[in-house]
Symmetry: C3
Subunit: 340 residues, 3 copies
């Protein structure tokens, strides 16, 4: 596999990047992340130019990193400014400094050729908005990122893998509608369920007791950002003609799917809501429940990765209607991954 390198990836949450040196590998590239005293997030290659010692296992001296092995010292732009035993620093002594954009509480990094276009980064404003309350986490996944893309594009698995949490029989039974914006490279999958059971994930958090209408509108921006616009309302409650939908409950679920290696993935997940904004119990419930659901996926995908590792070459899958979103995503990812 070749990674889609000329793409923006979420390397971390903004809150993870601070005084400490944070090691994170993205598409096989080892990075060290930290925040300067002025508040800028910095991402450097995590290898000293001298004897490849990880800078993330080194120490900061102000905004500089001093290698923990022999003391090679790097400025935030990656330039080496001091070496041991001599005053002259070789001109070629520098580590790559990666372009960073901090937006919507996410730290996006460009590891590709040339300079990345910040305007190409998809937005997810809910996750950094005062009108929403967000819970979040990140789970390490011992599986290739494509398996997580498959998983998230086909939510019929909620019925089986997440029964009792977010899955009800109607999810698997209800057909989906898939659209692909080939030019923008976005996959849309939507499922509109009417007069259905309300899973505990939503009944506990919203307080809705009876039957509901439940919308799942997926918007996947390959390779990294997956958004699920989830709308819950008592059955029959519709948005008003002027677009007002304040009688419904909205949950914006996000995933940043960042390949670590060919067979491991950073599984960032976020859940933003437009109700019970200051209710700590609802926050704790959603954080705990969503983490449980993510870990159910992680466990299943880790199994699949082992299956793939042990199976003969050329194994054939069988796809049906529920897979149209996932197959569309694969086509776009194949295009992004292809050598230019």
């Amino acid at each position: 596999m070749v990674f889609a390198r000329n793409q923006w990836y979420v390397a971390a949450y903004g809150g993870e990047v601070g005084d400490e040196l944070l090691a994170r590998t993205i598409c096989g590239e080892p990075l060290v992340l930290y925040r300067t005293t002025a508040g800028e997030a910095v991402a450097l290659a995590d290898r000293c130019v001298h004897r490849r010692f990880p800078l993330s296992e080194s120490n900061r001296d102000g905004d500089r990193i001093v290698c923990g092995y022999h003391g090679f010292t790097y400025a935030p732009d990656g330039v080496c400014v001091a070496v041991p035993g001599q005053s002259r620093v070789p001109r070629t002594a520098r580590v790559p400094a990666y372009q960073v954009v901090e937006q919507d509480s996410l730290v996006w990094v460009w590891i590709g050729d040339g300079e990345g276009d910040p305007a190409a980064i998809p937005r997810a404003a809910w996750f950094d908005s005062a009108e929403y309350t967000t819970v979040r986490g990140m789970e390490p996944l011992a599986a290739r990122y494509e398996l997580l893309v498959d998983n998230l594009l086909d939510l019929s698995h909620e019925t089986y893998l997440h029964a009792g949490y977010i899955g009800t029989p109607e999810v698997a039974q209800t057909p989906i509608n898939t659209e692909v914006d080939e030019e923008a490279g976005i996959v849309y999958v939507s499922r509109r369920m009417k007069d259905v059971e309300c899973p505990s994930f939503y009944s506990e958090s919203t307080g809705v007791k009876g039957r509901i209408d439940r919308w799942q509108d997926i918007e996947y921006h390959p390779p990294c950002l997956y958004l699920l616009h989830s709308r819950i309302a008592p059955t029959g409650v519709e948005p008003s003609p002027d677009g007002d939908d304040s009688s419904a409950f909205h949950v914006e679920v996000g995933y940043a799917i960042t390949p670590e290696t060919e067979t491991t993935t950073h599984d960032f997940w976020l859940v933003a809501r437009d109700f019970a904004l200051d209710d700590a119990k609802v926050s704790a419930f959603l954080a705990e429940s969503n983490r449980t659901v993510v870990l159910q996926d992680v466990e299943a995908l880790n199994v699949l990765e082992k299956v793939i590792a042990s199976e003969p070459e050329g194994y054939q899958e069988l796809s049906i209607n529920i897979d149209t979103g996932g197959l569309a995503a694969r086509r776009i990812l194949a295009r992004q991954t292809a050598p230019r």
Copy 2:
């Protein structure tokens, strides 16, 4: 290595196959085993046709298996009878169902080409007979099955590896007689010891206190079934001319040697006796002692597998007379493994 695929293998004991879904890999093929409500043992390929999720990590719905990921549903013949989100089931949706024969308390499976001939399965009636009492177990072996074949065909190792259990000096000292039935593909190795020490394994279980005559008659049906007809009698006690041998003690030891992967093996072991049939203490003693002996072999063979993994290609062994049985077994296995 290529496995001898067109052969019958023991996949499980009959008692292991029940309501629960049992995962077991045989010659690299992942299987799921279970028993229908009518009592039939079923063996299916352990991979959903959709996204390869293991059926063994799924759920039963009556005699069907419902995939734990997206709900693809399989009948005992492997045919998929339901999929999510649509009523039409693709015609090609089926998993391989493997031929199963349950005999002598063993579940034999055919993973080879076409249909296997049940008459070709070697018998081991003691293990399911009212005239014998059997104890049994299965140990996972982190070594290639050929090492277990070598081990069992040359019992001179009892003297060194199993001293204090079934090994006495006379086992290694006594020459063997080897015969090969090339047409039937069976290896016979026998060792007749006269007036020798009785190891604790037999003195404790039979109550014989003095010197004994001890016969070890091996009958190996490659690749899977190994039988050791063991006869213990006070020195000088012989079968009567009419064939009656009721003054001796008979222990029928069996091993089913089933490759899991190229370097791991299912080591099934059984010990049947024609004495003290209802004596629970003797059963417990033999079960515990034989398991100890098997684990001594497992430990030694696991070491040998690591040795092989670290040694250069083309390492040469040196063989002597005690190895004639093992070398004959290798020849038959090579023939069975060769492409047809």
Copy 3:
């Protein structure tokens, strides 16, 4: 990588070789070491000729080893003197016996072609001298031996990796002098520090409280023996014109760098001193402190080995003046490793 096989290597400390069978792999060759009743150290190949069982997991019978699997019996010269089930021992039944030289408390072994020249073994008489007291240990290193050579040839890392133990700022700041005896194949690196801080390693052991002159004179005999002649004296104290230097403290640090596999190494370390010879507290302090320092190196080098395993082929390092010793060592090692 190819090992430099035609070289002497330290396989063990003399004190490690006794009645017990000691397994140790050197340059990929598995050895079993023991001491005969007459006191000779013996090194044999650790594989029975029959079915490759490790002799180190077997038993001694006097000066012989009896294989734990089938009883093949070996004399100290590697010749097989007994096999099971027959009186004739095949003429080719023997395991390689390696040439052993025990010197300066070290057990040197020759695994190369033909016979090694004992005179080619570098001396380290301090470690077995009544005029010195020595503490020692051996740490397993999960890194290729070249990383340990790099580490030890460039002591500027003491400032960063061993701060608080043997590192002070002056080590990294002070330039080195490198000399190479190409004919003898020895690398010399020396660093003379005047009027510098005394690290705790030396202040605690010598009792010197103030500023010191500190000499580090490295003498590396590739591939295996590394010696560091360390001299500590109160600032201004010089050897007298007649060579007497009894007012200074001398510490002779040794490392035997023995490759185990391509990516693991036996890291033998010794610290001999010519002061406080009978002071058990000083011995305990130096043993504990040096072990801590070695483990700091081990941890860092284990990280580097993982970095190398995950990096693309052809990664380029950047070298500066401090690396002249290490680069010279690499040149000699490349020569020793080259096929002849």
